[in-house]
Assembly symmetry: C2
Homo-oligomer: 192 residues x 2
């Protein structure tokens, strides 16, 4: 791991695996996200591009030296890392305590929220977006099997919480309803 980098365009995932192949996604890297750890020689996670991806790379050593000289960088990196920690902890709650249906609804509401923020709109009312993940990637993110993901997507569709065109294009008729299904009391506020 001789580089640190920042995602410019495209999507990548951070995963960890057990020896028998069970895998858990521990992070989703979207444009503007930072990859790599100053002061560490080896990568702790598998980083996988799920689309074509463009990253802005820095050699690790020079980057570390620059960090020494420029206090503001460490401070900014600290903010970003604290945000990631919050997201990770939010995800721990999801993984440890939510039902399959709530997990799916949570993921959908996160993607919807992020999509809305890109389009500079409020996440409410009727919303439409594309899922950037396969069912398997969703399963790895949510700690489920892909069959369960598929079943719960079908169930949410059957119950009118979402509408599907093809496999990836989702529309949410009523964002509040989705948030209710996600089970969060506080209406989210965490970012992927």
């Amino acid at each position: 791991m001789d580089f640190v980098a920042s995602v410019v365009t495209g999507i990548a995932t951070l995963t960890q695996t057990l020896e028998d192949g069970r895998t858990q996604m521990v992070g989703l890297l979207l444009p503007s996200d930072f990859v790599g750890r100053p002061g560490r020689e080896f990568a702790a996670y598998n980083v996988t591009a799920t689309t074509d991806i463009l990253m802005c790379c820095f050699r690790r050593k020079p980057f570390e030296e620059m960090m020494e000289r420029t206090p503001h960088i460490a401070q900014r990196l600290l903010q970003m890392t604290l945000d990631e920690l919050d997201a990770a902890r939010e995800w721990m709650l999801l993984l440890g305590r939510k039902t399959a249906r709530e997990k799916i609804a949570s993921l959908l509401s996160i993607v919807a929220r992020r999509d809305a923020s890109i389009k500079l709109r409020h996440p409410q009312g009727r919303m439409t977006f594309d899922l950037p993940l396969t069912r398997e990637a969703m399963a790895d993110y949510l700690g489920l099997t892909l069959e369960t993901v598929s079943r719960q997507m079908s169930a949410l569709k059957r119950d009118g919480v979402i509408e599907l065109e093809g496999k990836r294009h989702v529309t949410v008729p009523d964002m509040d309803r989705l948030l209710l299904e996600a089970g969060d009391d506080n209406d989210g506020g965490f970012l992927v």
Copy 2:
């Protein structure tokens, strides 16, 4: 949240809850751990002392100013936050993909490892330590019910992986066996 603090002695937990009361522990605060977030007004988690606790508190504003003036502090805080992020991600793998038995074995091996490091010994062979958590706290940490925790503790005892004196005092006859039960390929290395 007008303070940030560092734990001096005692143990506290960081938890999140869903509206219906389901709770998930997202961090365990041990001596030397840092609590609070520079640049944030409100607490995102419930902090609960599980023992008498002594913390070294700083008013948030002056602390933030000090951070501005003393680059080294931000850098040190960044290292600590990155370590916490690693621990959180390791925990995501546990919550999302491990079985109840593996979860218990993982928790025990973490406590054993930490205890060994305090006593400056290698975590191997026969080990003895106290659990700093109730069954309920273990359950909240592992994303299980306390009944399942109890059952799996009994099962590990029955299978000779651990021995129990009272509820809290554990001895592990063979650390390698426990690590095997924990299911981690790489023999851990993550710290609570």
